[in-house]
């Protein structure tokens, strides 16, 4: 079968994984980001590039296939039957405890580290600190990039409400620790600083009185202590955020949008495209998973009456011929719907980028062979793989 949506610029995705150093697969939840990232990485490795795929939450069997089934695995060479698969490595980010990791990693001293980890406020609420998982993924990316060990890093992004959360995470953490504002909170709660501020500024004074009512004085001093410790944690945070930002906007970094041809998913994809443009980052390709297609895209309904005799000829009973013909018809209408939605989506694309359509496989893609089976739809398989 040929993909029904013609892949424009067929060399597109091969070019993209051949030329860039970082590929970020973004998109809303449940559209096959993880498998797409792994499949792209496998291809690059087979082309001879030293490649690593950073996965976030792979299905167990896929994690197994990639050799990263232990939580928080460090980078591991991917092997099949004991032999390395091209130059492919994989790693899995541990989503849980991302803030604990940040604290462990950046605490200026053991004392501060222990104090933060023991803070009542921190313990209960650290799960909901903004953007920690996304930030950890980006920090990991920067480290891998700086290590120079890989020609290409393919990143699977965390399942966020909006794909953009990932891009904005560094800035959000920077805001979270904005020293010019945080300094009001980081003074010990009973210090002169707070008292003065409360007297000087009526609004602030009012706010703090209300805050005391709201949280209770002891909780407030815990909060204050927490912020005070945290602010020391990120002494060099600003330059780091700038480096991350530069990497996300670099020419060697490509975004690949992963989506499926459902109305809602494409709606979010359009929003993502608009935002990524505004942020000055570059979208290089779109991969659509679970695409149904029509028979040669003719858009002419092929009636059941024409099919039944054919099936009878192949030995089907009347009943079987009837249900198979009916099944064909409903799949044709699925194909028609997907084709129309994809065409409308393509018209929205400002710049021409390759759009690859991967069919709805009948089994979950969980093995290296499964990842490989996506390649004919992602890349031009007819020409030989060029390594220049």
């Amino acid at each position: 079968m040929r993909p029904v949506v013609e892949v424009e610029n067929m060399r597109g995705l091969d070019d993209i994984i051949g030329k860039h150093k970082v590929i970020i697969c973004a998109g809303s939840g449940g559209v096959g980001k993880t498998t797409t990232a792994a499949s792209l990485a496998l291809r690059a490795a087979l082309m001879g590039r030293r490649t690593i795929v950073m996965t976030i939450d792979p299905a167990k069997r896929l994690a197994n296939a990639l050799g990263v089934d232990a939580l928080g695995s460090a980078s591991t060479e991917v092997t099949a039957d004991g032999a390395p698969v091209g130059l492919l490595s994989a790693m899995m980010l541990d989503q849980k405890g991302a803030w604990d990791d940040l604290v462990e990693r950046h605490a200026p001293s053991e004392e501060v580290r222990n104090r933060i980890l023991a803070n009542h406020f921190y313990q209960h609420l650290s799960q909901s600190f903004a953007g920690s998982q996304e930030y950890m993924a980006i920090e990991q990316l920067c480290e891998l990039h700086a290590s120079g060990k890989y020609d290409l890093i393919v990143v699977d992004t965390p399942p966020t409400r909006h794909a953009l959360d990932f891009l904005e995470a560094p800035q959000r953490i920077a805001d979270f620790l904005d020293r010019s504002v945080v300094k009001w909170f980081v003074r010990p709660y009973f210090s002169a600083g707070w008292a003065t501020m409360r007297l000087v500024n009526r609004t602030v004074g009012f706010l703090f009185r209300r805050l005391e009512d709201a949280t209770g004085v002891s909780a407030l001093s815990q909060v204050s202590e927490f912020f005070s410790d945290m602010s020391g944690l990120f002494e060099n945070f600003e330059p780091r955020v700038r480096r991350v930002d530069e990497l996300l906007r670099a020419r060697e970094t490509a975004f690949v949008l992963v989506a499926s041809p459902e109305e809602q998913v494409l709606g979010e994809a359009e929003y993502f495209l608009q935002k990524i443009d505004e942020l000055g980052m570059s979208l290089r390709a779109v991969v659509l998973n679970r695409v149904h297609s029509e028979v040669d895209g003719s858009r002419k309904a092929i009636g059941a009456e024409k099919l039944k005799p054919l099936l009878r000829h192949l030995g089907a009973s009347d009943d079987l011929a009837r249900v198979l013909a009916a099944n064909f018809e409903v799949y044709e209408s699925l194909g028609r719907g997907d084709t129309l939605r994809i065409e409308a989506f393509r018209r929205q694309l400002k710049r021409q980028v390759p759009v690859a359509a991967v069919p709805n496989f009948t089994s979950d893609v969980h093995s290296l062979a499964g990842l490989r089976s996506m390649h004919p739809y992602l890349f031009n398989e007819e020409g030989s793989v060029s390594l220049n």
Binding site: M1, S28, G29, G30, V31, A59, K60, R61, Q95, H120, F121, H124, L125, S128, F129, A130, P159, R161, H162, R172, D175, F176, V181, T203, V204, F206, L207, D213, A214, T215, G216, S218, A219, Q222, S260, E262, E263, Q264, G267, V295, L307, L310, L311, L314, A316, L320, V323, L324, A325, N327, F328, Y331, S333, L334, G337, N360, T362, S363, D364, H366
Partner: protein
């Protein structure tokens, strides 16, 4: 082990729909809303991720955040967002307008709202509580008989649902502690609240549903309602039947050969998904002991009014029967 459902799902005040991203939570929330309204309940669908999906699915343009928008008789939708909810809350508890405006405009407030961990989640649940308990000033009646919360994807919903308890633990003595307690009370009351798990019968969504079931029953101790399994394939033929067909190559006309091959390919796709679904339906039966409602895969060119109506009819039958059964069960 889950407690059996004691009354009709729609007799609750609050239904919380959770599940992995992409399984059709918003669709199921809309179907439940349509059915509840059809059964005479004044219903609000509250959408947390703010993308206005529910409104669009029901044929309306998304309205202003925090404002209910009537989309059908007895059915409204609303986008809920934490910082808007906090501003609304402050206007209720702080009586002086001038002070409020000064507070809302101040940089420290804006910083605090953006950075305070869990505040947005807490205020979102607070807003849901407010709507669920709200009394209409003019009529003296409840504004809504039922509020349906279309929660964000699993990881985020856990943050939302666990926040009232966490806030209560941290701020026991203050106002936040007391207010949080009221949210915890609502969320854990089996007479007022039910959490529905939404999934598709595929590996990752099912794993998340099972994990979520464990966390909801053990860590959060929230009352559970139904398991909704979306997009279920039920082919009337299986791989064996397809395998017994003759080779299309035996057909004389090349066009017929190609066509027959395509018919067989699609039959395999359908039989394959039916088999995948069947094995995960079994896994769900083994691991998630909740009354289950299966919603069929929709084979239409577009998911429109007609498809929504058909699924509401499926749900009507499924919930009607289950509701009566468990009603009897409870009396027995």
């Amino acid at each position: 082990m889950a407690k059996p459902i004691r009354s009709d799902l729609f007799d609750r005040r609050l239904l919380v729909n959770v599940g992995k991203g992409g399984v059709g939570k918003t669709t199921v929330s809309c179907l439940l809303g349509l059915l509840a309204a059809q059964r005479g309940k004044k219903t609000l669908i509250a959408e947390v991720d703010g993308a206005g999906r529910a409104a669009r699915l029901l044929g309306a343009q998304p309205g202003e955040v925090g404002m209910a928008q009537t989309v059908r008789p007895l059915l409204s939708v609303m986008s809920v967002e934490g910082s808007a909810a906090l501003a609304e809350y402050l206007q209720i508890i702080l009586p002086v307008k001038r002070v409020i405006q000064a507070v809302l405009a101040s940089r420290i407030y804006q910083y605090f709202v953006a950075a305070a961990p869990g505040l947005k989640e807490l205020m979102t649940i607070g807003k849901i509580w407010y709507e669920a308990e709200r009394i209409d000033d003019a009529s003296g009646e409840r504004s809504w008989d039922l509020v349906i919360l279309d929660a964000p994807a699993t990881g985020h919903s856990m943050q939302y649902l666990s926040m009232p308890r966490a806030a209560h633990e941290v701020f026991r003595s203050g106002l936040v502690g007391r207010e949080s307690q009221r949210l915890v009370d609502l969320l854990s009351d089996p007479l007022r609240t039910a959490v529905n798990l939404i999934t598709t019968a595929e590996e990752m969504p099912v794993n998340e549903a099972i994990e979520m079931y464990g966390r909801l029953t053990e860590d959060l101790q929230m009352p559970l309602g139904y398991l909704f399994i979306n997009r279920v394939h039920r082919a009337e033929f299986d791989e064996d039947a397809i395998a017994q067909l003759g080779d299309p190559a035996r057909l004389a006309d090349p066009k017929d050969r190609a066509l027959a091959a395509e018919v067989i390919r699609r039959a395999r796709e359908e039989a394959g998904w039916t088999a995948i679904n069947a094995s995960y339906l079994q896994k769900l039966r083994d691991c998630v002991p909740l009354p289950a409602v299966e919603l069929p895969y929709v084979y239409a060119e577009e998911f429109g009014v007609e498809q929504v109506r058909d699924l509401v009819a499926v749900m009507d039958v499924a919930l009607g029967a289950s509701g009566r059964r468990s009603g009897k069960h409870a009396r027995a």
